[in-house]
């Protein structure tokens, strides 16, 4: 069954022959799912052919793994006297396992997994040490984080849910036979000599049947112990199911029965197996380099001739440590020898026959890594791809934890349609999730998320407002408090900047800034001065302990962790005296060997070159919706179009300056924090914490003063201080009533080729009175908008969608107040505005959680994430908890109700009570509900008064209802 007899045709490697185990694995739904998961996520937005699947890549990696093992067998010198080389051969059973590992190395990837997972930032506090901070805009655990993601465990072991697990279990029998057949007394299999007796003992004394368990266990071991650091623990704590209790209680996992796990791991673990699959210059790397380059249409070809020097080495061999051993620490060396040798794969740079170094190989390696950089530069970090990622992440953020799909539902393991869990399905599930009929009403933010996803579906991506490349950022954002070393300064600064911008702590501030920019560009606030004034007022309010937490959907500040692509995975090279990853070689002082210094100099120069490139690769982006690049609905309606474009360019430039000022605020604040707090743990804690409202207010204050400190003139000329590489004039475009000329810059195809709203406008007028369409038209006409053609159908429908709930009430109130005679200045009422809302009423305070005396009382939901509460929402919450007889509920919950009302801003409290009074008046006329106007409302007011006076003790138990029925 392990003969290569099944042919697969691949567009990169030609014919690939696989064995029956591999064929069966590919046939499982768990693997078939990978054919619907793309390798590069949104990259096909830019490179239309780069839509290859992880399935194809996995099969390619399996093929390359086989190739690599052939190279190792061919080039490793089996000379007993030269202990630098591993004196072993990879047995047939190991080959089967390693190929299987390569085939399944991506099995845990979910749709868009690289784009939606929580990335890790490093915040350095000196040259070597750092704290890890998880990115705030990531939404799911990393695909290979086994302490929180149970997918790999379930796929490999859960025979109920996973067919793949059944396949592995079935093949365990022939596989273990093959492994047991290895003659470990031969020196070429000496690395297995301790393993087989242990497995026999596991079978005979511990009721552990290798015929059923061995293959899945070894495979799981192979895929989870990636680095040597991880391999130090024979037993790891992993999560074994999606079920929340499983997540709280991690389970220990080790190879074989519990009693033998330590020994088995010691005897079995060999880094070279992991090296071949995914560490270093590996099957994974080689396949995706070749495949991605081809599918991206790059005219490059990778040269694999360096694989002729791909060998198995023994880094612990005395030859590599002659000096050390002869010197001071003989004992250490002796200890190392008693341990079983750990073999690794390496590129042999030292030419032992000739006694020289193959310098060309160093260049060869860097050329390979350069290609990797090129893929990132051209594809992964392309602004359109990053914009799509940012939009996607923001949509998930807007959906909130309750609405966004669970990690489990992204995969649906065990489901009949598990293999259908593709990217498209993921996107669709985000759209249809809003239809849960028993769930709460669709919130505003969910509607916004829906809007973003439907844009993504049509590749209508946001446009960049600001892009700051790392090389420019590194010069400007010099965080104090880091003990910067001169060589790696750039890396430290960019890593810090990335981590800080992407941290939960500062995102509160940045989200606030984005909200201000969004409302400014939409025209809800007229000038930059007004924006700052509104922001100041919003935060200065003492009552508002928690200022509005808004998540804007049209402005996104976005970045990703700084990466050094030559470090991960690191290519291991074998020199005369050492075996080490190439990036560590660059830090080593030159020895006294001839030629050594030249080699190290070359490595250092190459690393410096790479560093410079990577610095420019990292970028900080601000993306805005295409709608904000044209003058926008509101400005259009206010007839600002006459000089619209010029005015809007000014707005966009001011917005850029606002972004830069915000970044400066963060630099100042973080530097100050680092100066005060040298402790690394404090820094980590701070970044993952929530920013206190007072801090936020302080930062906004600083932001305002920094922005104002710049001369208007210099802001106009150079809004981003030369940091951004975007010219907003390139994107800005105008709208006019005759439609969009084809040469217009607008790329949002729905906006560019619209249908005039004249038709829907006329139809709306025919609707019954009170329908939102008709009310909207009436409102617009009252404001003096008489030409329907000024709007497109899509825009009209957007406005209709907005014309509900609080917005409709606001507009209706204005109509009543001004007796139907409004003007252009009232148009802004059609939009919810955080900044303007404050002008009317005090901002909301987060409601205090009050327990009602009911057994099944539901906690009052926080009115987030926009916190734009009004009585409407208050009543909604209230009515949702009124189960059964409303009058009795009111009677029982009077005090609790009063407490909730008291937790609202003062201006709103009496409005709330009045609203309740109106409703009680109305409903007391209904049948059988026990509503008593003259009883409930006075009691409620009384309770409210008591709380306000600080007399918090509840009044005496209410008397039982008198039994009078107002309805009958």
């Amino acid at each position: 069954v392990f003969a290569d007899e099944h042919k697969f045709q691949d567009d990169v490697w030609g014919q690939i022959k696989l064995n029956t185990l591999e064929r069966d694995v590919i046939d499982t739904p768990e693997f078939q799912r990978l054919f619907r998961t793309s390798q590069l996520g949104f990259v096909d937005f830019v490179y239309q052919t780069a839509n290859h699947s992880r399935g194809a890549h996995s099969i390619g990696a399996c093929h390359v793994a086989n190739d690599l093992m052939n190279h190792l067998a061919k080039h490793t010198v089996h000379d007993r006297t030269d202990q630098r080389y591993a004196p072993i051969n990879i047995s047939k059973a190991e080959q089967v396992l390693i190929r299987l590992g390569a085939l399944l190395h991506d099995i845990t990837h979910v749709p868009f997994s690289h784009d939606v997972e929580r990335k890790t930032h490093r915040v350095y506090y000196n040259k070597k040490d750092f704290v890890k901070v998880q990115s705030h805009y990531g939404h799911y655990d990393k695909h290979d984080e086994y302490a929180s993601n149970p997918l790999l465990y379930l796929v490999i072991f859960d025979t109920n849910r996973s067919i793949l697990a059944r396949v592995l279990r079935a093949y365990s029998e022939p596989f273990s036979k093959m492994l047991f057949a290895v003659d470990s007394s031969l020196s070429e299999y000496s690395h297995l000599k301790n393993v087989l007796p242990l497995l026999t003992s596991a079978r005979e004394r511990h009721r552990w049947d290798p015929g059923k368990e061995l293959l899945p266990a070894l495979l799981f071991h192979l895929l989870t112990y990636e680095t040597e650091k991880e391999a130090k623990d024979a037993v790891r704590s992993i999560v074994t199911d999606y079920y929340p209790e499983a997540a709280r209680k991690l389970s220990p996992w080790g190879l074989g029965p519990a009693a033998l796990q330590q020994q088995l791991h010691e005897a079995w673990y060999q880094p070279f197996r992991h090296d071949i699959i995914g560490n270093t210059l590996s099957a994974d790397l080689i396949d995706y380099l070749k495949r991605d380059i081809r599918r991206l249409g790059m005219e490059r070809e990778i040269d694999l001739h360096l694989l002729n020097y791909y060998v198995l080495v023994n880094p612990g061999a005395p030859d590599f440590h002659k000096e050390e051993a002869a010197g001071k620490d003989g004992a250490l060396h002796a200890a190392a020898q008693t341990k079983p040798p750990r073999y690794r794969c390496a590129i042999e740079v030292q030419d032992h026959k000739r006694g020289t170094s193959r310098v060309v190989l160093i260049n060869e390696i860097f050329r390979l890594l350069d290609l990797r950089h090129e893929i990132h530069e051209k594809a992964v970090m392309h602004r359109v791809v990053q914009s799509a990622n940012a939009m996607f992440s923001r949509a998930l953020m807007l959906m909130g934890d309750e609405r966004k799909p669970t990690p489990q539902s992204l995969v649906n393991l065990g489901d009949r349609l598990h293999a259908l869990q593709s990217e498209d399905l993921f996107l669709q599930s985000l759209l249809t999730n809003d239809n849960d009929e028993n769930g709460p009403a669709v919130s505003e933010s969910c509607k916004e998320a829906d809007r973003i996803i439907s844009k993504l579906v049509e590749r209508r991506v946001y446009r960049p407002l600001v892009i700051i490349p790392g090389d420019r950022a590194a010069e400007y954002f010099n965080f104090a408090g880091n003990k910067d070393g001169p060589e790696t300064e750039t890396e430290y600064r960019l890593r810090t900047l990335g981590a800080v911008v992407d941290s939960p702590y500062y995102s509160r501030f940045l989200l606030f800034v984005s909200t201000c920019i969004e409302e400014y560009l939409m025209g809800l606030v007229d000038t930059d001065g007004d924006v700052l004034q509104c922001a100041e007022r919003l935060l200065a309010d003492v009552e508002a302990k928690a200022p509005a937490d808004c998540v804007p959907s049209r402005v996104i500040i976005w970045t990703s962790p700084y990466k050094q692509l030559y470090k991960d995975p690191a290519v291991v090279v074998a020199l005369k005296k050492s075996v080490e990853p190439i990036d560590e070689l660059g830090r080593r002082p030159a020895g006294n060997e001839p030629g050594d210094a030249a080699l190290l100099k070359l490595v250092k120069a190459s690393i410096d070159d790479a560093d410079a490139k990577y610095a420019a690769l990292w970028k900080l982006y601000v993306f805005v919706s295409d709608g904000l690049y044209y003058t926008g609905i509101l400005n259009k309606l206010r007839l600002a179009t006459t000089d619209g474009q010029a005015k809007h360019v000014t707005r966009l430039k001011n917005a850029e300056a606002l972004v830069v000022a915000a970044l400066e605020v963060i630099r100042e604040d973080w530097s100050k924090f680092c100066r005060d707090q040298a402790e690394s743990t404090e820094r980590g804690k701070c970044l993952v914490g929530t920013m206190a409202p007072e801090r936020l207010a302080a930062l906004v204050g600083l932001w305002i003063s920094l922005y104002k400190a710049r001369e208007t003139d210099s802001r106009e000329k150079n809004p981003t201080l030369g940091l951004s590489e975007v010219d907003v004039k390139h994107y800005v475009h105008e709208w006019n009533t005759t439609g969009c000329p084809v040469e217009d810059k607008c790329r949002d195809i729905r906006y560019k080729y619209p249908i005039s709203a004249a038709g829907v406008w006329a139809a709306a007028k025919q609707r019954a009175a009170g329908m939102p369409e008709r009310k909207l038209v009436e409102f617009l006409e009252a404001c003096g908008i008489t030409d329907p053609a000024i709007l497109s159908t899509a825009e009209f429908e957007q406005l209709v969608g907005q014309y509900t709930g609080a917005t409709a009430n606001r507009c209706d109130a204005a109509m009543r107040e001004h007796d139907g005679k409004l003007n252009h200045s009232h148009l802004h009422l059609l939009w919810q505005s955080a900044l303007r809302a404050h002008q009317a009423v005090a901002p909301p305070v987060k409601p205090v959680k009050t327990k009602l005396p009911r057994k099944d009382a539901v906690p009052v939901p926080a009115f987030g994430p926009k916190s734009r509460i009004d009585t409407e929402q208050f009543l909604l919450t209230l009515s949702k908890r009124m189960k059964g007889n409303v009058g009795d509920e009111l009677q029982k919950n009077t005090v609790a109700l009063a407490e909730i009302i008291h937790s609202y801003p003062p201006a709103m409290q009496s409005v709330c009570i009045e609203d309740i009074q109106n409703l009680v008046t109305k409903e007391s006329k209904f049948v059988h509900n026990n509503m008593k106007l003259d009883e409930h409302i006075p009691r409620l007011r009384q309770a409210w008064d008591r709380i306000r006076d600080g007399k918090n003790e509840p009044p005496a138990d209410p008397e039982e209802g008198s039994g009078e029925d107002s309805g009958e």
Partner: protein, 349 residues
């Protein structure tokens, strides 16, 4: 006496309590009215053919309920008298009906069936109120209702369930598959009611004698963050089992109270559907195990809601060395791949 009965009514927080409460002595007129209302609804239900969805609107029109008005309300739904009958008021804020304030619609087959599930239930509930009002007025006993409001609410809920799921339909179509989650889910889908209403309906008094051959449990679980709650539970038979207690206190119950083997408990929430034979720990103290068939169906994914059906397939057996009790110990000493529950002895970390 009245105050006493009112207080009892307040305490009646579960449907079970109401059923018990019905048997208690109460103001004598109300039970008569309630029986009368039940008879009206069951006669109506028996008369309709079981190949159509129950025409609730017919019953409504019969009692003068002719229109629905959507508006801002404190309650979810309410009913008021008009000159010639009744008007149903539905809350238009966030209950799945985003209709402009004051929208009126006639009650007919289209409007009733196009409402979301929970609103349709509310309409049926209000129709039950109309029946009560009309009958009380006819009998000249209007005050009997106003003095028993809590009980009236519960009775209307039950009647609403009986309208949306008539007895004849249930008996004809479910047969002996009452505790099969798959059947329950398809039923819920076909009759467009929520799973919760379906389970509560199973507990109504008129079904007491039906399905007498079946023994088992049907429950609706929902997940709220890390918490798993029972939203409704119905059990039949199972004397001496722990389910009785579960059905009574389901609001404070946890998953463990289903008394399933550990691995099943863990899988319930992660697998979209399960159908397999299993053992239930019938009476832990007596070490009784009973063979059952478990079926589960996810009815909603976000938030996660699951229907669980457990059908008893035999009588309890005493198994002193049952696998269920031994399994935890075995796994701990054995290690291997059986991870669940086996962590305590391994001595790492």
């Amino acid at each position: 006496v009245i105050a006493e009965s009112e207080r009892e009514g307040h305490a009646a927080s579960t449907w079970q309590d109401v059923v018990i409460g019905m048997q208690r002595k109460s103001v004598p007129l109300f039970p008569q009215l309630r029986d009368r209302a039940w008879r009206i609804v069951s006669d109506w239900g028996a008369a309709i053919s079981d190949d159509t969805l129950p025409p609730v609107h017919d019953l409504a029109v019969q009692y003068g309920v002719r229109a629905i008005r959507f508006e801002r309300l404190l309650s979810t739904a309410a009913i008021s008298r008009t000159a010639d009958g009744f008007l149903v008021h539905l809350n238009n804020m966030g209950h799945g009906t985003e209709k402009p304030d004051g929208t009126m619609v006639d009650i007919n087959a289209d409007t009733v069936w196009s409402l979301p599930r929970q609103m349709r239930f509310s309409v049926a509930h209000e129709i039950a109120h109309a029946i009560f009002c009309t009958e009380a007025k006819n009998a000249g006993k209007a005050s009997a209702l106003s003095k028993n409001l809590p009980k009236l609410e519960k009775a209307c809920n039950q009647l609403a369930g009986a309208m949306l799921l008539p007895k004849t339909h249930l008996v004809a179509k479910i047969g002996d598959q009452l505790f099969d989650a798959e059947v329950a889910k398809s039923f819920v889908g076909k009759y467009r009611v929520s799973a919760q209403v379906f389970i509560h309906r199973m507990r109504s008094p008129d079904l007491g004698e039906s399905f007498s051959g079946s023994e088992g449990l049907l429950a609706l679980l929902s997940r709220n963050g890390n918490d798993v709650q029972f939203e409704a539970v119905h059990t039949r038979g199972g004397s001496g089992s722990r389910w009785k207690k579960l059905a009574k206190d389901f609001k404070s119950a946890s998953l463990r109270d289903l008394f399933l083997a550990g691995h099943l408990t863990d899988r319930l929430l992660t697998e979209p559907r399960i159908r397999e034979l299993c053992d239930v720990v019938w009476h832990p103290a007596a070490r009784q195990i009973i063979p059952c068939e478990i079926t589960t169906q996810q009815v909603c994914t976000n938030p996660l809601k699951i229907l669980v059906g457990i059908r008893v397939r035999g009588s309890p057996t005493v198994r002193p060395d049952s696998d269920l009790f031994a399994s935890e110990k075995d796994e701990a000493s054995d290690g291997g791949c059986g991870l669940v529950g086996g962590s305590q002895d391994s001595g790492i970390r």
